[in-house]
Amino acid sequence: MKKMNLKMATLAVATAVFFIACKDDVILPTANPNAYNVSVNGNVVTVKNLPADTIVAIGATGPYGAGKFTYFNVATNQIVVNADTSNNNWDLAFGGTTIKVNCGTSGPGNGGAFVYTGTFDAFTQVPTDSTFRTDNAASYAITKGSGKGWYNYDGPNNIVSAIPGRVLVIRTATGKYAKVEILHYYKGNVTPSTTASDSIKAFDSRYYSFRYTYQANGSTTF
C-alpha cells in the first residue's frame, strides 16, 4: 500500500510540475540571423542573406563559387528559381560583387540602372535628366570595381564593404522603377572586422543584405 501511494504521489507531483512548467513556457523559435529572410515594413522591403554564388571551396588561385548568379524579382520580392539571361521574369541578378540588371547583354528585359550618391530615405524622385545605363557585357549598368559602384574593397584586409550613401536606381524588366540600398555583403547582415579569420571572410561572403522600395504604379516617385 505504501509503495502504491508513493508511486501515485510521484505521478501526481510529476504531472503537476509538468503542467505548471509548460503553462507559460511557450518557446518561440528565434529568427536565425544567418538565414535568407524577406521582411516588408511599409513600402521598404528588406532582404537578408541572399546567397550570390557563395564560396564553395578555396582553390589554388583563391576562393571560388559555382559560378551561378542568383536572380531576384523586386515586384514579387522573391528569388526566381531556374531563371537565366533569357528570361524576362527577373530584375536583378547577384553573383559575387557583380549586380546585373535585366537589360542589354544580361537579359531581354527593359531594365536599366545607375548609381546615385545620397541617402536612400531622402531619394523620393528619380531626377528627370537621369540616364539609365544598360549592361553591355564587360561594362555593367551598376559599375564594377572598388569605389566605382556600390562597394569599396579593402585589399590588405580582404573586406568588401557597401559604400554608405549609394542608392542603386533601378528600372525593372517591365519598365517600372525601384531604389535599392545594399547594406552588407556577408552572412548575418554584418561586415566582419579586419581581424576575422580568412575562413570567415571567404565563406561568409557573397550573402547580400539589401533593402529596396518598388514603385508598382510605374511612376518615378517613391
Binding site: 541617402t119 564593404s161 557597401a162 554608405p164 550613401g165 547594406l183 547582415n189 561586415t191 572586422s193 579586419t194
Partner: protein, 145 residues
C-alpha cells in the same frame, strides 16, 4: 615627462565631408551623412601620447625607477566603407605600459640591476603584435678600467 597631442586630417577628405559627399551607416545598416565631428583623420595615429619617469636615488648607490607610457586609441580600418576614417570604424584600444627597475651602483663601477617591463602584462595580439607581455630581467654592469 612628455606629452604629445596630434590631430591629423586629409585635406581632400575634409573637402568631401564639407561638401556633403561622405556618408556613414547607422546601427541598422541604413545610410546617413557623415558629420565633420565624426572624422578621425589618418589611420594608425593616436591623438594622445605621454610618458612619465620617476627616479629615486640614494647616496649609497641604490636606485629605483618607474616608467609609464600612454597611447590613446588609434583607428585601423575603414569599416563602414565610406573611404574615410571616422568614429564608426574599427579601432585599437588605448593602453598604458608600465615598467620598473631597481639596482645598486658601487663605487668600483659595478652595477647590479633588475626590473620588470610591462608590469600589467598588457597584450593586444591583433593590433600590437610586438608587445610581448610581462618581461622580467636582471643584469650586472662592469666598467673595465
Amino acid at each position: 615627462m612628455g606629452y604629445q597631442y596630434l590631430q591629423t586630417a586629409d585635406k581632400d577628405d575634409l573637402t568631401n565631408i564639407r561638401n556633403g559627399n561622405v556618408y556613414t551607416r547607422n546601427a541598422d545598416g541604413t545610410s546617413r551623412l557623415l558629420q565633420k565631428a565624426e572624422y578621425i583623420g589618418l589611420a594608425n595615429r593616436s591623438k594622445h601620447m605621454g610618458n612619465v619617469k620617476i627616479t629615486y636615488e640614494k647616496l649609497n648607490g641604490l636606485y629605483a625607477t618607474m616608467r609609464l607610457n600612454y597611447r590613446s586609441s588609434w583607428y585601423v580600418a575603414d569599416s563602414d566603407g565610406n573611404g574615410v576614417y571616422n568614429t564608426h570604424d574599427e579601432h585599437a584600444n588605448g593602453f598604458v605600459l608600465a615598467n620598473c627597475s631597481m639596482g645598486k651602483k658601487w663605487k668600483n663601477g659595478v652595477t647590479v640591476f633588475g626590473g620588470m617591463d610591462n608590469i600589467i602584462n598588457y597584450r593586444d595580439a591583433n593590433y600590437l603584435p610586438n608587445v610581448q607581455g610581462r618581461m622580467i630581467y636582471t643584469g650586472i654592469n662592469f666598467n673595465i678600467q
